[in-house]
Symmetry: C2
Subunit: 425 residues, 2 copies
């Protein structure tokens, strides 16, 4: 096939047109496709309507080499993607016995019911001659086929399943279409905004063609992606190295990792490596730090537990923070944060402990500006406290505070200065 290939993402679902759901699938697939060197020229969203979906397919096949559909593979009568696409490409639908068996097993082992309703079996029908994408993350299988000069890939709509299936099944399928290798590395940053990072890297970015350097922002985090195209993996790898060096030279230790999933994953690996344990004492983050740690499989190796002391009295009842300290300095203070961390370390008998106390808002307390958070890290070498002023936005304040808490742990465990001014980076 000609290079570079172009793709259209065709998302199917009335819920997208009603605004009940945001099209994160199209965004995620776009990121993966750009890593693969495949141009995305159009996203189209269409409802669960066979006529309009058929028309959308007719348009897409004229202007794209690859059509990637998301959604409409499920068991309900709204789920029409396979039927419409098969018809548009003159393919029969074939029943796959082994997929039906997989589904029954999934219902029994994962969902825990012996009987599966009949409509689920609709999911075992796929276009004749397609490559089956088994769904290890849900029930609806996906697939890929080539017909009339177009490649079609069908993926389930739920973002978790769509993402996992793209990475596990569609990625290798698409990679095999090209004779060029595309290789990406990501550098991850918390505690610094996208525009601050971008203005520092502007010159480097402008000079680059291959590899490229692009920043992606998500709440409280920036990811830099360095992507090289070459004839071989080794060559592409070699091309990325000087760029990574340069970026590290400019940004320094605010980069918390390369090709890692999250700051909590980095903290988890560091704790394991050093045979250390962690506990938490959370007020304004309300369990978010503990939740993020325990999202990680195997976290029981390093995470002992935490206290969510949301009400002021519970800071005394559970952690033994003295009421005098609280009334002297106020519940949102460096002193109370430090005491919470120290007490958590003792209570849970962990190597280190982190604490948060602050004002996530939107309501204020008449003393501190909304977004004020004190974060403390208690260690055998003493207690470190950082003050954050993240401004408005409840979810944003909580995300930034937990990011910075993890970042303090990372900095401590890698022997960097623990307390930095997150507002000047």
């Amino acid at each position: 096939m000609k290079n570079p290939l172009s793709a259209e993402i065709l998302s199917v679902g009335t819920e997208l047109l009603l605004g009940s759901t945001t099209n994160t699938d199209a965004r995620d697939i776009s990121i993966y496709l750009s890593e693969l060197g495949i141009n995305v020229f159009y996203h189209t969203v269409v409802g669960d309507n066979p006529e309009r979906l058929t028309k959308a397919v007719e348009i897409a096949r004229e202007r794209a080499d690859i059509i990637i559909t998301t959604g409409g593979l499920g068991p309900t009568c709204d789920d029409l993607t396979k039927q419409v696409l098969s018809k548009a490409f003159d393919l029969e639908m074939v029943f796959h016995e082994e997929l039906a068996e997989e589904m029954k097993r999934y219902f029994k082992e994962v969902i825990g019911v012996d009987t599966m309703t009949e409509n689920n079996l609709q999911q075992a029908y796929l276009p004749a001659g397609c490559t089956v994408f088994h769904n290890e993350w849900g029930t609806a299988p996906g697939c890929a086929f080539e017909s009339k000069g177009v490649r079609v890939i069908m993926l389930p709509g739920p973002p978790r399943e769509c993402n996992a299936m793209f990475k596990a099944c569609a990625m290798p399928y698409l990679r095999a279409l090209s004779d060029e290798v595309i290789l990406s590395h990501s550098l991850n940053i918390v505690g610094s905004g996208e525009s601050a990072v971008e203005s520092k890297l502007r010159e480097i970015m402008n000079d680059l063609v291959n590899p490229t350097l692009a920043p992606y922002a998500k709440e409280g985090e920036v990811m830099l992606r360095i992507t090289a195209k070459a004839k071989s993996e080794e060559e592409a790898e070699k091309m990325t190295l000087p760029v990574i060096e340069k970026v590290r030279g400019v940004l320094g230790d605010i980069i918390y990792g390369m090709d890692v999933n999250s700051i909590e994953q980095v903290v988890f690996e560091l704790l394991k490596e050093k045979n250390m344990t962690l506990s938490t004492a959370e007020s304004c983050t309300g369990g978010f730090i503990a939740k993020r740690m325990t999202d990680l499989r195997g976290s029981s190796e390093v995470f002992i537990g935490g206290a969510v002391t949301y009400a002021t009295e519970s800071k005394t009842a559970v952690l033994g923070v003295s009421p005098e300290l609280i009334s002297e300095y106020g519940v949102i203070s460096a002193e109370v944060a430090a005491e919470m961390a120290k007490q958590a370390k003792a209570l849970f008998n962990s190597s280190i402990a982190i604490s948060t106390t602050g004002l996530a808002g939107p309501e204020g307390d008449g003393i501190n500006p909304v977004g004020t958070v004190f974060i403390a890290l208690a260690t055998d070498k003493g207690v470190f406290v950082t003050q954050l002023n993240s401004g408005f936005g409840r979810s944003r304040v909580r995300t930034l505070a937990s990011n910075c808490a993890f970042d303090m742990v990372r900095r401590y465990l890698t022997e960097l200065p623990v307390v930095v001014d997150y507002h000047r980076r």
Copy 2:
């Protein structure tokens, strides 16, 4: 114009096709349009490329009464939306002196610079004869025009500006075009899968045309949406009532709310109403329940705090669960769950407390199947315990367990049977 009107949202920006940005504009506008009774049949995303944008406009004008563009109105050479649309509809571009003055003022007063670069003036050109949408939230003005039987609305891309301009300018413009109202209600369910819910409602759904009934699934939750079109809001409201009744008749008390955001929001409102407080003792959910409660603004009114007792020893150290009880029944048992909830209720001095202990996996413990979770609710009327077997999938197990924990609280506070078999619904 004919009724109901149909609209296509045409989002312009290469950043959307690269996955750097999520298309929240299309989602937000879709929600507003559904409130206005305007059908959205397509979303299209196209890059900053005049040829492809022209083609996309040609397709959209054939299939929609209203085209709403987002993005591409700014001052850079990538911003082509106005030029392309004006050309496609044979309209001249006209310079608006008063818009140029507004822009200069904005730069001086909001951004704080006296000089504005020349390229900003490009934004003062708009198609001849259009209705100008002044931008009070940024610099690029939007507009609306009618040409060749199609209404075109152009909005800036930054979500804050796009949203504000839609509400302030496009909404009244569009409201004047339609004489139909669309009204939706949602019914929310946890603890039952989409296909189980749908198979129970199949017959009702098949019989409906207006209103319609459609299920939407997200992890561990099903939302049913009932949507009616009518001449007035009162009429539409009246049409939805018998459908809601029927669905309630079939599904009964597994519906946890109507037009609500989440099960935790329902629990929060119930607790407030009854002047009661909650605390938590979490093992396998690792702070997720506390996190979900404290996501809600104002949660400090009802949520005292929680213990995340992840390691077995911490169940003793923090909650005082006796080591004998743990060794007799095992840490994953109804007895330990009950004791955790009782102790949390006492420690936090809350009206009720919920606890979880289970195996989120993927690693097993050699005793219980992965996905086994015991959830307990301690109240003044005794302790209730539910056993869940959610099977594999760490994130799924934790979501289902926290959903069911909230559901037990809801059932208790609304005087329904607290312990139900979540596997048989």
